[in-house]
Amino acid sequence: MSETVIETRNLTKKYGDFVAVDNLNLRIQKGEVFGLLGPNGAGKTTTLLMLLGLSEPTAGEVRVLGLDPARQPLSVKARVGYLPDQIGFYDDLTARENLIYIAKLNGIPRHEIPGRVDDVLARVGLSDVADHRVRTFSRGMRQRLGLADVLIKRPQLIIMDEPTQGLDPELAQQFLRMIRDLKEEEITILISSHLLDQVQAVCDRVGLFHRGRMVLEGTVPELGRKVLGGAYRIRLRARGKEDAILEALQSLPGAVRAQRAASDLYEIEAESDVRSEAAAAVVKAGGKLFALDIEAQNLNDIYARYFEEVKHGPVA
């Protein structure tokens, strides 16, 4: 059923003695949004460049859409859209002219080009400024033009390097929503970022990078469970008999721990999302429920906790 779009086996890149990417084994399925996350210098960009055939691996194997980027670079680059970090355009050309050039480089038939250019400009909301020089564009507009630039070749896979860098939080969220919409079209997406919490929401699965190694991989809740123990943290406010409420919460199936944090504030750590069960339990114990919310898993916490454990824990 599911096709593998990206597969690497012991992929390694060395710069002299420095190992930038260390025996990476990665497998991304069709239609997935995968986040390659980690701090600056972790080796994310290097990995992406090798996937595109722009940098030659020192060792190991890469398959992108079943092709070897080193031997079949043209086929790979015809099917893969790449949004580099700090994307640059020809400032003296208009948005449309920049896109036409890329369309021509992709060998898109001449008569199709105008239509496709209009299409992608509309999709990223730049139709109004299509004939303005890119020189006049803001950072956010450039980033959207970058997305248009990637979409014009109708890629099966999109690789984005730090797509939200330099955008203010609102623009970043807006841009991530655009990315998320692409998933509807069965496009596989690989995002690299050092802003863990910012992109975690759009990723189906993430891989956490540290010094050239992928140290953790999975869905965010999976990683939360693995690293933080109880994966869901639920907070609720309730009035009523405190002991009865606490007891009811503690005996919830799936709850790892429940405690009273303040006079009417309770915290539950659970293996699954037990919000509705918790609400029912409070009411049953004669309490009044005022607020209930779940604390999302935070990749920053997971990452930080993981390295604390690695440093202090028994496993090296």
């Binding site: 060395k14 710069y15 002299g16 420095f18 960009t45 460049l49 595109l52 722009l54 940098s55 030659e56 080193a70 031997r71 079949q72 670079p73 043209l74 086929s75 680059k77 015809a78 893969v80 859209g81 790449y82 580099p84 700090q86 994307i87 640059g88 355009f89 020809y90 400032d91 003296d92 050039y101 890329i102 021509k104 480089l105 992709n106 060998g107 970058g146 630039d149 070749k153």
Partner: protein
């Protein structure tokens, strides 16, 4: 330094043609050149030069009383205080060629467009070749226009049309001029790969040009003096030394261009280098050489110019292939 270890393995059988996308690069780069402010300034400069020198030459020709190869004299006649048009070409051609190529590659890095372009289904070959050919074609377009302008002025000023021979010689001269530009263009382009800063690349190109224009003759003089025997020497030795000096001088593209120019535009020049009185017997001085014979004389110059252009291009090509694309 780590970049030294960055080595693309010898490309095994590569998929597809290295020229995929060449047309697109060529079209974009030519459009850039032809609309750029930089090119506009250079065009004004060269048009002014052409009009000025040709106007002066026309006056000289009218008062000179010569009747043969008048159109070729338009290029070569100097009239105080202006040098001849070919005198200007000696530095205008390198200037224009360098101005078009010194930021060819490093500018793509600095604007961060390089990774976007190379993420498209093309090889680096197409980008480099496209840029080079675009420069060469632009040069060809500009100089063809100048040649037409000069001929137009000539027809107006002299009142006669050019002969077939004159036209043919002028066209060959146009070709030599374009190839001469090709050398400086591939030099500047190679520097644009070596140096990250366009200003440094421009400076290095100008420095190289100055070296061959100003200092090469001195270097040749010094080398020849090294070979000069301390004792009184024979005529034969003197001839050998003179030949050595000439050969060394020909390492400079400027010498090649100057010699080829003279042979093409002054049909009465029958030989390059040292002419002994004994040789003059066979060739009546002043009787012009047919074009085919002139071409035989400058054939080595033409191939030399092209060979150096290709050599410089290959150096740049190899460096560019090894460069890590990380904008």
């Amino acid at each position: 330094m780590a970049r030294l270890h960055e080595r693309e393995r010898t490309p095994r059988e590569r998929e597809g043609s290295p020229w995929t996308g060449l047309g697109a690069v060529l079209a974009k780069e030519m459009a850039d050149h032809l609309t750029s402010a930089r090119m506009f300034i250079l065009e004004i400069l060269i048009v002014l030069t052409a009009v000025g020198t040709v106007y002066a030459a026309l006056q000289g020709i009218r008062s000179g009383g010569q009747t043969k190869f008048l159109f070729l004299r338009l290029f070569t006649t100097a009239r105080e205080p202006l040098p001849a048009f070919i005198g200007f070409l000696g530095f205008l051609v390198p200037l224009i060629a360098i101005a078009m190529a010194f930021d060819a590659i490093n500018d793509e890095f600095n604007r961060r467009t390089i990774s976007r372009v190379l993420a498209q289904p093309i090889y680096r070959d197409a980008l480099l070749m496209g840029k080079f050919l675009a420069g060469l074609f632009t040069l060809a377009v500009v100089f063809s226009a100048i040649w037409l302008l000069i001929f137009g002025l000539g027809i107006l000023g002299l009142g006669v049309p050019p002969t077939g021979e004159e036209t043919a010689r002028a066209l060959w001269f146009l070709l030599v001029t374009i190839f001469y530009g090709g050398i400086w263009m591939s030099l500047a382009m190679t520097y644009s790969i070596i140096f990250r800063s366009p200003a440094t690349a421009a400076l290095a190109s100008i420095a190289t040009w100055l070296f061959f224009t100003v200092f090469w003759d001195m270097v040749v003089g010094l080398v020849v003096r090294l070979f000069q025997p301390a004792q009184v020497f024979s005529l034969e030795q003197a001839l050998q030394l003179a030949q050595l000096e000439l050969n060394l001088a020909r390492f400079s593209p400027n010498t090649l261009f100057a010699e080829a120019t003279i042979i093409l535009l002054r049909p009465s020049v029958r030989s390059l280098g040292i002419v002994l009185p004994i040789q003059l017997d066979r060739a009546l001085l002043g009787s012009p050489l047919p074009l085919s014979q002139s071409l035989v004389l400058i054939w080595p110059h033409l191939t030399g110019l092209i060979a150096v252009t290709i050599l410089l291009f290959v150096v740049g090509y190899v460096l560019f292939q090894r460069r890590e694309i990380r904008a």
